[in-house]
Symmetry: C2
Subunit: 162 residues, 2 copies
């Protein structure tokens, strides 16, 4: 199935979805964060079809989110690791996790607890925050087009009082 | 195309993906955050097929993320609004946006700037933070199974020193 591309949308959310928006991709990235690195490990954990996993891993490598390294010097098997660009997805992964913890909870309680190594304390819930660190809701926010914003966006959302 | 469901995975990320992981869904939610509410407005903005948009909106209403209200008292047209559960997706939407701003930037600069109304200052980038507010990277985090964590997860990630 050929999907319409989001890559022509001048929107950072759409651009990101174009790269990591396919089903399975965030689960592969989750597993990479949790220490899995080999094709077989991803496949066993996710139960995803091998051809789909192959395609998703290739796309993530092509996009610079994963890097692959041979397991042995002349091997054809690879480890997949998160690059800096990939590690920067941590906020997205945790934002999903925290929303699921809150709204789609397991009755027995939280599934995974993320803590700061140095203090042992749970991390803060992923929330939009002010410069001062206060959580903000949508009604406390303004949005305006930046230098890369398209005229389309400005018109659509009435930015600049159009 | 029938997808394998993620709903049997005991993982808050997978549970969330099951609800908002379809293509288009986060773009519909983005548009709702930016003030769009009518079917025609979503359709015009996104250029998505009408049958797909209908199915996505229905699923979001069924999941309690959007609520729909008739435009007029006896009309068959509806406005769609984010519920509290839907508004709580703001962190996910901004996490995508900030990642795209950083890694898939428009050459001319940032596309949209989100500011705190009260101060006019840009919001903080979405990052995983400690209780003290410090941004944390993956190597500064520990993870352990909570009361709702499955034995599978404990074994897979060697939690509890298994």
């Amino acid at each position: 199935m050929k999907h319409k591309s989001f890559s022509d949308m001048n929107c950072s959310l759409a651009q990101t979805l174009e790269v990591i928006g396919e089903r399975w991709t965030l689960l592969i990235i989750r597993d990479a964060f949790l220490g899995l690195s080999r094709f077989e490990d991803f496949q066993n954990d996710l139960g995803v079809a091998r051809n789909i996993l192959t395609a998703r891993l290739k796309r993530l490598v092509d996009q610079g989110i994963l890097t692959r390294q041979p397991v042995t010097e002349k091997g054809r098997r690879y480890h997949y690791f998160l690059t800096q660009k990939g590690q920067d997805l941590l906020g997205i992964v945790l934002a999903y996790t925290h929303w699921g913890d809150k709204w789609l909870a397991n009755k027995k309680g939280v599934r995974l607890v993320f803590t700061e190594k140095a203090t042992g304390k749970a991390v803060e819930p992923m929330r939009v925050r002010s410069k001062a660190g206060t959580p903000l809701t949508i009604d406390q926010l303004d949005v305006k087009a930046g230098p890369g914003g398209s005229p389309h966006v400005k018109a659509l959302f009435g930015i600049y009082g159009d």
